[in-house]
Symmetry: C2
Subunit: 202 residues, 2 copies
Amino acid sequence: MNADQSGEEPPTTEERIMEATFRALLKHGYNDLSIANIADEFEMSKSSLYYHYDSKDDLLVAFLGFASDRFEEAVLSTPEDDPMANLEHIVEKLLPIQLNEEQEAIGTVMSELRSEAVTNEAFREQFTEMDDLLVDTVRDIVERGVEDGSFREVDPTRVAEHVVATVNGARASRTTTNRDQAPAAVRVSLASYLDSTLRGRQ
Amino acid sequence: MNADQSGEEPPTTEERIMEATFRALLKHGYNDLSIANIADEFEMSKSSLYYHYDSKDDLLVAFLGFASDRFEEAVLSTPEDDPMANLEHIVEKLLPIQLNEEQEAIGTVMSELRSEAVTNEAFREQFTEMDDLLVDTVRDIVERGVEDGSFREVDPTRVAEHVVATVNGARASRTTTNRDQAPAAVRVSLASYLDSTLRGRQ
């Protein structure tokens, strides 16, 4: 996971294993994932996977670190300059109104992996890091907005915790209920929360 | 589950099985739950449990219905008259600052059961009902506040979806991360969200 990812170097074995794990998870789902079907995606033997990772859990914990880096690149590195546009970009990425098939599969897999965190400390640490990263990113944007005068004097941590809890709750409702209308309602209410909390508009 | 629960009648066999399931879940956790250890709590044979429920999953789906009824009694039947006090009561019940041991165990078990809903439609329907019930309850209180003039003219459904997503996200962070400070921050931000959204106070 410390390999050069500049795009010039060929992927390391670890990176290729992570990509294979991702494909196997999307194809088989978490419940039916096995070292054998990861090896199938990798065209390598099971034993060579065990050379790199002690167990399926060990491999999945590494995968969560890999997914977190990808998530950081895809979601948290916002192209916008304006703090409010930045926040809207993140909320849009985290809670799209319409999910394509891959986004839906990723949501399901992440939800299943998160449930392992209830009883598995190594998984729990990965999700702690992911949520910390998300809260820190939102908090930094809010802080920047307060400093440049575009936002009111709010507690940036509190706003960030609120946004992340709301987004995570709406994402969970997508994977664990049939309440299909909920995420769209939350998107609207979250936009209005940000507007009224950060800019004092009612 | 349709039995008279007025407290006069002795509990039905189904109710006694549900109580036994609850005790077994708290004692063994979801992962180690078996029909055998439910039977231990019930002083009945495994075969008599199978007489009432076809499988462990079948029993757990019934348990979720039972838990939902209990939840409705304990959390959603608010003693307060004032709509804002009602909402605060619900948020306090759903997201206590300090959890006692039993509350923590219940949170863990419900989180594990919810994760089954990702792949099991019968579980999914139970969590859909539970979240619907919660959203409907919050929406009705907000509606009442709008009608009696204590709240501003908001969209009650949107506010209810926001509250439920935020609470569910914070509850999930309690069971799947080590971010111990998050629920308290969300409690504060949720109180301020309700105050500013419903009463226009900044």
